[in-house]
């Protein structure tokens, strides 16, 4: 379905096993998060990345450890893929004091600066402009870092998308914009509300960028595409805009059963499950089934452990309430 970008760069078997492991971990984490919603242990809302693991795994694996990630409220995958503690992420979903943000951010705002995961942004589109800022800073400091910004198809219809792309090109910023086109803008088919057939790629030429459409369910394709885009950014050639076609296995958020999707469409995409595809590829390349089974078992154990550790965490301490509004650690607005 998609044009492969990034050539046929060989991917070594260690990287491929790491890509497989990451996708499985993300899948099992999100399934567990869903179970915990059903048990009402996760309050509020949450937006799962089930079915979109290949984008998160592939793009993260190609990053330098100090490259910046910006993502959306559907950001569990992207935060974990940078190396954030699974226990801390789970605890944040559970509103525990041992959460990544000590319970102050929640599912939609996962941030782990120590791993250069610079935040999950819950107002559609804004973070494209913020990713530009990190890229501008890297350019100014000549640090060689790249800012990678993930967003959904819905974000392509908001003004900030266009402001960000224009400035990124004019300033030749080392930023890589990755649109995860999962075909639905919340509850509405993206095609029914968008003038362009490919919501991101068809807009690329307006900004002098190459239109790039990739199979977002193929982790190898994502990985190769990422490598080329990061190289372009690091060598001073400016931004890239990549549209990764993928599919959300569930609804927009926990409240959405996604019954609006045609049954045959869902079945078609489930046949293209990124993890099933990747597992089959590795088996075809001669990886022993036992190796993959062991990875599956380790991932399951990791998610179990994270769940138990997260649940065992304390409630957030009341002194967090008025902590860290300001850099002095407090919330005082007057003397």
């Amino acid at each position: 379905m998609a044009k492969v970008f990034g050539g046929e760069t060989a991917i070594d078997s260690q990287t491929q096993l790491a890509l497989y492991r990451m996708q499985v971990e993300l899948r099992l984490f999100e399934k567990r998060a869903h179970d915990l919603f059903l048990q009402n242990l996760v309050k509020g809302t949450s937006h799962l990345g089930l079915g979109q693991e290949a984008v998160a795994a592939g793009f993260a694996a190609a990053m330098r450890p100090d490259d910046y990630t910006f993502c959306t409220y559907r950001g569990h995958n992207h935060t974990l893929a940078r190396g954030a503690s699974m226990t801390a992420v789970m605890a944040e979903l559970l509103g525990r004091g041992n959460g990544l943000l000590h319970g102050k951010g929640g599912s939609m705002h996962l941030t782990d600066v120590a791993h250069f995961a610079m935040g999950s942004y819950a107002i559609v589109g804004a973070h494209l402009t913020i990713a530009n800022g990190a890229a501008w800073s890297a350019q100014y400091r000549k640090s060689g870092q790249v800012a990678v910004c993930f967003f959904g198809d819905g974000a392509t219809n908001i003004g900030a998308f266009h402001e960000a792309l224009n400035l990124a090109v004019v300033w030749k910023l080392p930023v890589v914009f990755v649109c995860e086109n999962n075909l639905y803008m919340e509850y509405t088919p993206i095609a029914s509300v968008t003038a362009a057939k490919n919501p991101a790629a068809d807009r690329a030429t307006a900004y002098g960028l190459e239109p790039i459409i990739i199979d977002g369910n193929d982790a190898d394709v994502c990985y190769r595409t990422a490598l080329s885009a990061y190289e372009r950014a690091r060598s001073g050639k400016g931004p890239s805009l990549i549209e990764a076609k993928t599919y959300r296995h569930g609804g927009h958020s926990r409240a959405d059963p996604a019954s609006y999707r045609p049954k045959d469409e869902l079945e078609e995409w489930l046949k293209r499950d990124p993890i099933d595809l990747y597992r089959a590829r590795l088996l075809a390349r001669g990886v022993a089934q036992g190796v993959l089974d062991a990875i599956d078992a380790e991932a399951a154990a990791k998610v179990d452990r994270a769940t138990e550790e997260a649940k065992a965490g304390p409630a957030p301490s009341p002194d967090l309430l008025e902590r860290n509004v300001w850099a002095d650690g407090g919330a005082a607005w007057r003397n």
């Binding site: 102050k104 951010g105 804004a126 402009t129 800022g133 900030a160 509004v325």
Partner: protein
């Protein structure tokens, strides 16, 4: 001391900090080659170069996103939003992103950035280029709000804002850009959250901000002719708020007047009136009086605009009426 205009003091404050810290950078519409539409950034491109002083497209969201992303990754950026009314175009960045991120991440992310903007009326620009909106910013937890009245404070408070580890909205009073004043030539920094008592009187305390400060001071001089001896307090910043100075000065005189350019409802004077009522009610000899712009968009015609914003005459009249009641 050098005599500078308010607009020259803006450039002087930025230049002082750019010389001191290579991480200070400035972006905005028309701020580099053109020196700013209000000529507040003249000479900065020439002295600091195009990497540090950068023109942007008319993209307020992109401007504030850029300074936010830069601030969280090691720079101390300054953004100019040409008119404060345009903050509405990028209020998501201001109120949802910049203001909330430190808190939401429990301190993981620091945002040492300054958003400078030309605020308020006086230039007959009409309702979309004239409103005083510092009260919008004051209502958002996580933003510091600074609004100087005099060139020396422009330089000193701008320097403090740039050095501050938190996001600061810096409101430049566009009606005062041409006003002159003495400005210290060497390093000059005025701490945020320190009000300035400009005049001490026995009968009442007038609290003002930005363009209303010189008017309050002139009103106090005229009130003296009617036997009313007024203290005048220049707040200088709304957040942090120097509540101690306000309360102390109100307690001394027993009467409080606020003079603000905000439209009446939820202007900062309302917050101050509540604070005064809460904390020094028993020192008051009469009601707290708010002198404000009426609750209207600002009209363009000079005759109407002058009627809308608190004038020296209106301040005198309202204070006299209240004091002689």
């Amino acid at each position: 001391m050098a005599e500078l205009t308010y607009r020259e003091a803006v450039a002087a404050g930025i230049a002082q900090e750019m010389r001191r810290d290579p991480n200070v950078v400035l972006i905005g519409e028309d701020i580099a080659a053109a020196g700013g539409v209000f000529k507040t950034t003249v000479g900065l491109l020439e002295e600091f170069g195009a990497e540090r002083v950068r023109d942007t497209p008319i993209s307020e969201q992109a401007i504030l996103g850029a300074v936010m992303g830069a601030a969280m990754t090691g720079l101390r950026p300054i953004a100019e939003i040409m008119f404060s009314d345009f903050l509405a175009c990028c209020w998501d960045l201001v109120a949802n992103q910049i203001a909330k991120t430190r808190y939401m991440t429990d301190g993981q992310v620091s945002l040492p950035l300054v958003i400078r903007t030309a605020n308020g009326g006086g230039l007959r620009f009409g309702a979309q280029h004239s409103q005083a909106v510092e009260n919008w910013a004051m209502a958002v937890p996580g933003l510091k709000v600074v609004a100087p009245a005099y060139p020396a404070d422009v330089k000193g408070l701008l320097a403090a804002s740039i050095r501050d580890p938190d996001p600061v909205l810096f409101f430049e009073a566009k009606g005062l850009f041409a006003e002159k004043g003495e400005v210290p030539e060497g390093e000059h920094v005025v701490p945020l959250g320190t009000a300035n008592v400009l005049r001490t009187g026995r009968n009442c305390t007038i609290i003002a901000l930005a363009a209303m400060v010189p008017r309050a001071l002139e009103a106090a001089n005229r009130l003296a002719r009617f036997g009313i001896d007024a203290t005048v307090v220049d707040l200088r910043s709304l957040v942090p708020l120097d509540a101690r100075t306000v309360l102390t000065e109100v307690s001394k005189t027993g009467r409080a007047f606020t003079v603000e350019e905000n439209p009446r409802l939820c202007g900062w004077g309302a917050e101050l009136a509540a604070l005064i009522a809460d904390e020094c009610f028993y020192d008051l000899d009469g009601p707290i009086v708010r002198i404000t712009t009426p609750h209207i968009p600002l009209p363009a015609a000079d005759a109407l605009e002058d009627l809308a914003r608190p004038s020296v005459e209106r301040i005198v009249e309202e204070v006299r009426t209240a004091m002689e009641r």
